[in-house]
Symmetry: C2
Subunit: 721 residues, 2 copies
């Protein structure tokens, strides 16, 4: 398959484009200029394609979340929930910043966000499809294809990262139909400047998560620091605030229903172009099983931290993530059950099939593609469940640490370019940070309980779906495992391992593999014991993946060509790269006779207030409302200060913290969630009910001005004189 | 206090009247003609004052519910929940009409609604204030005053009921400021013509009760039967359909948001003019305690019927009522907690006080009234809790039956005019019916469990708040009661009593009191044992009530005069008499960022459908929706058949089944519920959120035409040719 005719389709895509749905690559925006202008955009769409110019250069990634620069001194705003781990890292039982919030009195008091915290500024996105696929033969075996693509990606990344202070990756679009090189400036010294108390930043907690109406002050401020030379540097008191080329203007002008909004950010992953049978597998097997396993994990953590506030703080972030995922999966299942998505996908595939067979050229090009993909999907489905059960065992921090350390020793024996991604020289800094960070997020009792839970689940699988080497180690037989024997084994392992000691972990980073093979540490021994088996499983997975990398792009090429012929828009699935989406401020009808209006206000927050978590606002906030101390943030139409708002922009996880921009590209809000009906949008976007949820920036500013008194920051953003 | 100046106020009331709030006496309507016309009424308001003319003569009472005639042959429509007891009366395990619904194939198959079922047609309402209060001195003691008023009421009623076939009562308005004689034709042969299956008539059940959005087909048809001479007669196969002077025209024209609606019916009771301290007592003590007792009663019934479907059917109606009351009380408490009603009442009272002291005449007339009422309220509060605990013991069917029978024997020894209301000659028919009806609603095990539960609750009160005679009987001492001893006593009582036998009960109706005093039946013996104590308690209550009957009207006179001076409207609290209320079809905002639109439709019903009770529609209904078999009932704007709608009319319990009339006084719906926010409206009407919930008559007709095929009835109403 050649890709020379792909570009034409993308151009055609412009014709049929409509607002709301679509996570557009910045370079696509001029193609949909007419729509953007019609909806209200007041700046030249061409400006949005320049990643080094305003405003795109101000939109940054935190790795998993989005943020944006809002001052010339590297002040960045994101969501409270994106900074949750960093705030937790700085919290102790005595000084619980999560509960109390944080405001640095002066710059020197700004708090290091913790190992691994990053600010990534995208500086270039370049098409490298030819370099990756170029002369690659369709006849390669899956494993060979996988390996070849990985080698080429690594080579491109390595060359790119010769520019010191930058981080590069190659991202696949449309399942491998296109590849782009993403180059990002990597700022390693990130500090917390301001975080509201949990009673604001997480108001509504898990109860309100994914829900509307919403009243969450989900914002936090970071600052990027660099060396005195202006280049990224390790965290140090000598560093100085980074001065971004561009930053966003924070606007207090506010929005009204129907106003144009757009949003730039780093959405993580969507699956909008999967086949009916893939969707069906996920609905009927993957999500229910995975949700159940996460639920068991959550309960295990809750039970084993019930008597230890210190352990509870260590796992607070993990618990938050689990609750979010569980609700997400439930939302997916609820959404799926009512959406008729499988039937719609089947209808689409019937259309695709008719289109393929309707033309000799198309028959020639695509006749076998759908069948090949179907076969691969069935193959992947067969191993999914046992893989999931075995995979969850690896969630044990001790086991995963041992495996990673041993693998590092094995990979270190190879030339850098041949090593597995994640174990190359470029990865060692992060590797070390991850080993360091464990101290704040690990408690032996909890880890042991987690490992035990997942081994018991796994041991209940039929023997032929289990992993022989693992069964050997834990004496798992035809009839499963004896709990008493398992407990004794785990007790011994946790008693004897030294990996809970940070220095021990860091020391192992430099060791040769032979040392591991002689180690008496039970988790290292287990890692060594599983090595061959794990590698064989990995090779199988890579072989399958390599075959997907051939077939999926062929299928996507067919599907895109077909959709274009039907006048449908085509944008790539989210893949963690910078995207732009646009729409309007808009409510929706969640069910018969109910309409959700697009703004919430302070009075609604008071309605929800119970004084009990998660509806426990700080008394200063309630007092400010009681005093009607609204200042310039009173909205004339709402007759109160707006808190959150809904829009029709198309977002997903990874977009959290994205700046919401008005028609002049001024920052007027922060994306922080989607509505419950949007959860399924990762698979199937339904414009009538899919909404994004934003913090109105007026609420954040009101809190800073009238509740917690962060006047210096307001001055820095030009809000106060 | 003279009442000659009251009439003037009522006239003045017209000036300040506004839509929505207000349960108007029909004779008041011409005074608010301008408002009615402005909102859209198209008939002459004077027509609404003629109780023997159209349309008021078609609006009838079922005693606790409202209905209306919709054909010349006495066909009447009301709510399914108003006919619930009658449908239950005709249900057996084999032929469960509650589950399956009922349609009489021809008139002879129409089912007797059960003993005590009545249709009451109001024929006259006359002011008898002078006859009641006339020469009554303010210096009478409370008991004397109570007795004198009761005597005069009985004399008026007796004289009125000389017109055979009529039922009369004297109703107090404004706490006794005015008295009206209500004369009603009493039709005693009432039959079920049509009831939808429970999956339509109670769709949503207790989950959706008081809720919006709603999708309940809460309608049922009765027919009134009379003797061949056209006069009320005992149930008999010889009877013929009653031919009302007027009946309502059922309209398929439907309503739109904003349309005028009015409603005539028999609202039971509101407390809109209570004092702040009365409201506060009810919020903080009465409702929470009463809700708890009802909850315990409900649980006791549920536990003791868990293994007996036959007993469960007997108590289904009781359980329905309890669930409704419990949710009602919870709604009151939720509403109270957010409404600030006590503060508003206090503000009102401060205004009243300022107004009284601002003028010498007013000071003279009212200076002591507020203080006197306050004293009485405090006195009533002191006995409320122990009275409630003791009172719930009387919920035992066996105990209440024994008490009533013994009392009848005592009262029968007096001349009829001197007997207690409820025990006069005019009451004996109903008395007998009530004794008969017990068989369908009584199971010994449930009654025993109920009595036991309430005795245990009562026995936990401090000894000085209990009743000595009762304590003697059950050996309740300083430390309460021994459960084993209580169980033994109850076992013996239920084993020995013969009152569970209908014939035995009916036989006791004719006995002299001496026979009771010699009876060995343990419940009769208990009734005799409690006689003196119960009468002493009753005399105390009557004395207090007599004093209220002097003071409350004085307070109301002051309050009305004050409200008028402030330009506020004045209508009397509901008291079970015929009232008219009007407003518009209108949605509301239940909370921040949520708006409820005023119509639900069939698609919303499908959204709720789970296949499990209470969201289990009959398959024929779902099929009709799937087939889009909507006929003439499709609403062009809603794009579906409307199911329920909201309006701003002012209703309460007793209004259930009331015809909802359009501007031409055609029947377009049936009132069947209020929204959750309306529960508190019995105490404090908040126009922004108080809404009534109606069945759209188009839904009822659609079901009859397209789902269950009740074509003969549609023809009778002139809907089908």
């Amino acid at each position: 398959m050649s890709r020379c005719w792909i570009a034409g389709w993308i151009v055609l895509a412009a014709v049929a484009v409509q607002a709301d749905e679509g996570m557009w690559q910045p370079h696509q925006l001029p193609l949909i200029e007419e729509d953007l202008r019609e909806l209200g955009l007041q700046i030249d769409p061409n400006r949005l394609t320049d990643l080094t110019g305003f405003p795109m250069n101000a939109v940054i990634s935190l790795g998993g979340c989005t943020a944006s620069f809002v001052s010339p001194d590297g002040l960045a705003v994101t969501n409270h929930h994106c900074a949750y781990g960093a705030i937790q890292y700085n919290s102790t039982e005595e000084n619980n910043l999560l509960e109390n919030g944080f405001l640095a009195g002066k710059r020197e008091e700004e708090l290091f966000a913790g190992p691994g915290s990053r600010i990534l500024v995208t500086v270039a996105v370049d098409d490298v499809t030819d370099e990756i696929l170029g002369d690659l033969s369709d006849s390669l075996g899956g494993g060979e294809r996988y390996g070849a693509i990985e080698q080429r990606e690594k080579a491109i990344v390595s060359e790119c990262e010769n520019d010191v202070g930058h981080r590069c990756r190659v991202a696949a679009f449309h399942g491998g139909l296109e590849y782009y090189r993403i180059k990002q400036l990597e700022i390693r010294d990130v500090r917390i400047v301001y975080a509201p108390p949990k009673g604001i930043g997480r108001y509504g907690g898990d109860v309100d998560n994914w829900m509307w109406p919403r009243h969450t002050g989900d914002f936090t401020f970071y600052r990027a620091y660099v060396g005195r030379d202006g280049k990224p540097a390790d965290p140090s008191a000598d560093n100085v605030p980074f001065r971004p080329k561009h930053h966003l203007t924070v606007s207090t002008a506010g929005l009204k229903p129907g106003d144009f909004v757009m949003l730039a950010g780093y959405p993580g992953r969507t699956n909008r172009y999967r086949t009916a049978s893939e969707v069906s597998d996920y609905i009927n097997e993957y999500y229910p099983t995975r949700r159940q396993l996460l639920l068991e994990w959550l309960r295990t953590i809750e039970e084993s931290t019930a008597d230890s506030p210190a352990d509870a703080i260590k796992y607070a972030s993990t618990i938050g993530g689990l609750n979010n995922s569980i609700k997400n999966y439930q939302g997916l299942l609820d959404g799926f059950s009512k959406s008729g998505v499988v039937a719609r996908k089947q209808e689409l595939e019937r259309g695709l099939q008719r289109w393929i067979v309707g033309d000799a050229q198309r028959r020639k090009r695509y006749a076998s593609t759908v069948g090949q993909l179907r076969g691969l999907v069935a193959e992947a489905k067969a191993v999914r469940e046992p893989d999931m059960y075995y995979g969850f065992i690896g969630r044990s921090t001790m086991l995963s640490t041992a495996r990673r350390l041993y693998r590092l020793s094995r990979e270190s024996g190879k030339p850098d370019a041949e090593r597995e991604p994640g174990y190359q020289e470029r990865d060692l800094k992060r590797f070390e940070e991850r080993l360091t960070r464990i101290d704040r997020r690990y408690a032996p009792a909890v880890d042991r309980a987690t490992l035990r839970r997942f081994i018991l689940n796994y041991a209940a699988l039929a023997a032929d779906r289990r992993v022989e080497a693992f069964d050997e180690w834990f004496d798992i037989g035809e009839d499963g495992v004896e709990e008493a024997a398992l407990d004794a084994k785990l007790d011994a392992m946790y008693a004897k391992t030294k990996l809970a000691d940070k220095q021990v972990r860091l020391d192992w980073m430099g060791m040769k593999s032979g040392k591991f093979e002689k180690s008496k540490d039970p988790f290292l021994r287990l890692a060594v014991h599983l090595w061959d088996s794990d590698r064989a499983r990995e090779a199988e997975a890579e072989d399958r993946s390599g075959r997907f990398k051939l077939t999926r792009p062929q299928y996507m090429a067919a599907l895109i060509e077909y959709l274009m012929s039907e006048g449908k828009e085509v944008y790539p699935d989210a893949n963690g790269t910078l995207r732009v989406t646009y729409g309007t401020v808009r409510g929706y009808k969640p069910r018969d006779a109910v309409y959700y209006t697009p703004f919430t206000g302070l009075q609604g927050l008071v309605e929800k207030e119970t004084g009990e978590e998660p509806f426990n606002s700080p008394s200063a906030l309630l007092q400010a409302i009681a005093d009607e101390s609204y200042g310039r943030y009173l909205d004339d139409e709402l007759k109160t200060v707006p808190v959150n708002f809904l829009s029709s922009v198309d977002t997903t996880g990874g977009n959290s913290g994205s700046p919401t921009l008005n028609a002049k590209a001024e920052l007027v809000g922060l994306l922080f969630d989607g509505n419950y009906e949007s959860i399924i949008a990762d698979w199937d976007f339904i414009p009538e009910i899919t909404r994004s949820i934003h913090v109105d920036i007026r609420y954040a500013l009101w809190i800073m001005q009238h509740v917690t008194g962060a006047h210096e920051l307001l001055r820095e953003m030009g809000i106060e004189p």
